[in-house]
Symmetry: C2
Subunit: 222 residues, 2 copies
């Protein structure tokens, strides 16, 4: 009998990272999830992350890094209404970029992983993010992995199995893993239900359409 | 006339990073310092960092990352008396390792640097740290730089000019730059003056002896 491998994973509560969590459990990892509160509009995600972990009996840490707000302004970090709508066009999306977010998340997750003797730190970064967020590119994650692997005497590696998937691929994966879709949040607005209009909702809805499925979530407009 | 280059630097308030700050000013950088409070015993360092920045009219941000305590135990992070004394022997020092600290500090400093349009993020990492702290090795910093350089559309590079210096080299540099030595703190204990016994004090005192100089600080025992 082989010993179960230990993973730390960054769980936003969105569709991608929630799918990754189910995938890790399916691959027999002992999962420890970590979520970050950074004053985002869409902190509803975090409630979903918490509920998913409770449901799956997964150890969950919530880390408040809202101090970052003092160091930066970005529309993802303000309680503003000015979230770019419809498509994730480069011009629009650059306004929502929280630079270097994945490096901060990863370095804290690695710290946590080192303290509990984890084998991997898993990230839900995927293909769709590449062009807009520099820290979601495969090249970036590969180089980040090079650093992580030598950051301690006990080797930890990054694991990012969604890197070559687009949103539709992830939804397919998601359906196969019987993910509880009620417990994911993708919308960038902090309303009681997803707006159906922001870039993030648009992308999610299109991914469902692409594989001839209907998103079971209730939207304000879709 | 060339435009002054902008730097963010990680300032602990110890001898190394304070020397680096003076060096950056000497090299005509517009410096923005960032210090981290992570519940360390030696938070006296941070008072020194603050005073040095006030004296030099340097913009200074203090960031509280004490949430890390919830994720890890390490003797540097507790109000314990059990700080290893005398030499920084590998067995002793491994007890004080705060894993992956430099990666966390750097990623937050890069975030800050990106928000203010900095050209470099400077780190006071030096030769003496290499064998004990995996995240102080030149190889680590080089690979970290590879990631940092592609983490945003605007390129920021790491600058670590002390990497091949030992403590005595830094003290020499320090003397040349007329650093205000009263405003540095190296001791790992949180007393009113440095203990003169902990690994950190021992190393500092030896560096002064090595270049036939006396450390002007007042120690409990030296």
């Amino acid at each position: 009998m082989s010993v179960k491998k230990k993973a730390v994973m960054v769980l936003s509560g969105g569709l991608d990272s929630t799918t990754l969590l189910y995938k890790l459990i399916d691959e027999w990892y002992e999962v420890n999830a970590i979520s970050f509160f950074y004053w985002q509009n869409h902190s509803k995600e975090l409630e979903c992350a918490k509920k998913t972990c409770e449901k799956l009996w997964v150890n969950h840490k919530l880390v408040d890094i809202s101090f970052l707000k003092d160091l930066l302004k970005s529309s993802l970090l303000d309680w503003a209404d000015a979230i770019p709508e419809w498509h994730y066009q480069v011009e629009n999306m650059k306004a929502t970029v929280v630079p270097n977010r994945n490096m901060i998340f990863t370095s804290i997750a690695v710290w946590y992983g080192q303290s509990i003797g984890a084998d991997i730190v898993a990230l839900g970064i995927h293909n769709g993010d590449h062009d807009i967020y520099p820290d979601c590119r495969e090249e970036f994650i590969e180089k980040l992995n090079d650093v992580v692997e030598i950051s301690d005497w006990n080797k930890i590696s990054l694991y990012y199995p969604l890197i070559n998937m687009n949103k539709a691929d992830i939804v397919k994966e998601w359906l196969g893993l019987w993910v509880d879709y009620w417990l994911t949040w993708t919308c960038y607005k902090g309303l009681d239900k997803p707006c159906g209009k922001c870039g993030s909702c648009t992308e999610r809805l299109e991914a469902f359409k692409k594989i001839w499925t209907v998103d079971p979530l209730d939207y304000y407009q879709s």
